[in-house]
Symmetry: C2
Subunit: 391 residues, 2 copies
């Protein structure tokens, strides 16, 4: 194809992913009015696309996730973030489905983001990258699917910010989504969640090494600020009862309080580790861009104040999932989505899963989640006429 | 008195308080094994002590509160933090009761804290001040009451960290407390609350202007770090529903999103203001010391794992108060105190107040709280034989 994307799949060593480059003539047009060109998308796939090209599942990752869903992560060496969910004989069965996950635009694992080179300057964009919205992320994914010649997704799923993308997919490309599983998400970001994100951003920006976003060029790195942001956010991903069960007031490698500011308590040691390890794999400016995208997400306002308008006439089959102990994206906000889907006459199931593991439940071994995903996908697979997996 | 405290009340211009200096011969002995000498306590009083010295109410302030309960604050120019509660004809009626509030040890409004001069060096203590516990705060208050020749308190009350002091008062000086009103507190700090405090401390310590606590000497000030700590903490003082009601997704002085990192949303602008104004009145090292004191608070562990042991034989009349929307010190933790008091055979009332205002409810105009305080104090006043207030 002339002027088409450079869709010779490349191994980008650093990111261990397939990479697609769209030329300047195929810019990503943004909600802000700006555009990104050239555009790069890094992605991973698992399983095989069937001949009818009808078995593709798009997995949308969360704020600090990436495309490494079910393989060893190239930076951390840990298992992919949804290894429990995606793989042979897993609920998202890669013997049956073709799974795609792309690093979101604004991210830092190979897709165009603030650390990418700005063609106008030859230096990293920093804050010169236009602001990204969840819809922009979804538009970029649609460009990827076009390049992969996948017209319709069998399913699109993800939790948290991933769930926002799921909702946006259905709202923006209603005819391209056969089924959708938004998990632990909301149709608009709450004031409390904006507040927590703002704390994280201020923590990054308060770090003098942030240098107004130009730290790559200046050879600095706002590690401390980003670690504080991560620590604060991490608390919100868990639940009070899970923290009590896992840590309580247990001391860290000591028999008594030290009367000092060392990490006397296991929970302190754990949080510090979460902060420090995060900065090894994540870009501070990406953290600003992606939290902002979530803050801006408001599917209600985008549809004249009536969420049902986002789904009117939708033929997509929905399964909405929430967790009882998730106080960041509580069941109530997920139920609002269900009510809107009902009002729009859509085909919807709703499962509230009883667990004390908090918002992060969607990443963890929660048997009822596995069973829900597996059962819903199987039923949709039959409706879609997909072959059953080999016994 | 020779070697007695210098109890000539001084106006400390900066702190607009009464100040009492205890000489080196009257050190404050600390839980850590260390001691503080000389010791200074800054305090305020309201109303008049009766002839029987039987109408004194000790108000214990919270983490970022101080002794300016019911007067114009000398630094902020705002009304005292409990002006709604304390004053003539208020629930804590200063026509009837003699109200005392002392700045806690470790604080920064005139009592000895990390910003005080270390006699060993002639410079501010910084982190050389020994760590303070809630019991140390209470011991210091007892020294103050001794100096004021008040043997028994008619009541001791306070919310949050103030409530911890109330519980510690009863546990440490059971015969000196006629009645006690712990509000929105817990007998031990939870893992989640330790986690939030640790984030705040790491935010302060990540600020290069903190200089390992020596910022006064070095002429710097970790304002940005402390502001981030305050922002994170402030979210926890409110409730999701209150944030939604007060701010929702309303924009700040603009009609549309700006696609940038300015404070588009009112909640962002509000939080930034909370952070910035806090650093004008609070010392960063005090924030470290007082959060640590709360983390260490564990009345259960202090009494061999049985909270009721802390109250065994207590003749104090208790009124425990919690708020339905308080997720920092939830009703459950307050109910644990009630259960222990019941097990100890103590005289206890328990009121859970239905409000969406979150943990900060104890500071706000919550009519049921006012009625509870007023009614309980009146009943205790009759039992104590206090004269009724003039009609």
């Amino acid at each position: 194809m002339n002027d088409g994307p450079d869709n010779v799949a490349l191994k980008a060593g650093e990111f261990d992913s397939e990479v697609i480059h769209f030329p300047d003539t195929q810019p990503l047009v943004l909600d802000s009015g700006g555009e990104i060109a050239p555009l790069t998308i890094a992605y991973k796939t698992y399983g095989s696309l069937n001949a009818a090209r009808s078995n593709a599942i798009l997995v949308c990752h969360a704020l600090t996730g990436d495309q490494h869903v079910a393989n060893t992560h190239p930076v951390t060496g840990k298992e992919g973030w949804w290894s429990l969910m995606v793989g042979p004989d897993k609920p998202i069965d890669t013997d049956r489905y073709f799974v795609i996950c792309a690093n979101v635009i604004g991210g830092c694992m190979g897709s165009t983001g603030p650390a990418s080179i700005d063609p106008a300057t030859g230096k990293p964009y920093g804050l010169d990258l236009p602001l990204i919205t969840v819809r922009d992320m979804v538009r970029a994914q649609a460009m990827l699917l076009d390049a992969l010649e996948i017209e319709t997704l069998f399913c699109v799923t993800g939790g948290s910010m991933g769930g926002m993308q799921v909702l946006e997919w259905v709202a923006t490309y209603p005819d391209r989504v056969f089924s959708a599983i938004p998990i632990a998400t909301a149709a608009r970001h709450s004031a409390q969640n904006i507040a927590f994100h703002e704390v994280g951003r201020q923590a990054v920006m308060a770090d003098p090494e942030w240098r107004n976003g130009r730290y790559q060029t200046e050879g600095t790195n706002p590690r401390k600020g980003l670690a504080v942001a991560r620590m604060a956010a991490h608390i919100t991903y868990l639940s009070e009862s899970a923290l009590h069960r896992k840590f309580g007031r247990s001391l860290q490698d000591r028999d008594a309080l030290t009367f000092g500011f060392d990490a006397d308590f296991q929970i302190e040691s754990y949080l510090r580790y979460q902060g420090m390890s995060f900065v090894d794999r994540f870009d501070a400016n990406s953290y600003l861009y992606l939290t902002r995208a979530m803050d801006y997400f408001d599917l209600v306002a985008d549809h004249d104040g009536v969420l049902a308008n986002a789904f009117m006439g939708s033929k997509t089959r929905f399964c909405v999932v929430s967790f009882t102990s998730d106080w960041l994206f509580p069941t109530e906000g997920n139920r609002d989505i269900v009510h809107a889907l009902n009002a729009a006459g859509a085909h919807v199931s709703f499962v509230e899963i009883d667990t004390d593991k908090g918002h992060d439940s969607f990443l963890l071994d929660v048997p009822e989640l596995m069973a829900t995903m597996s059962g819903f996908l199987s039923a949709c697979g039959r409706a879609r006429g997909l072959a059953e997996a080999a016994p």
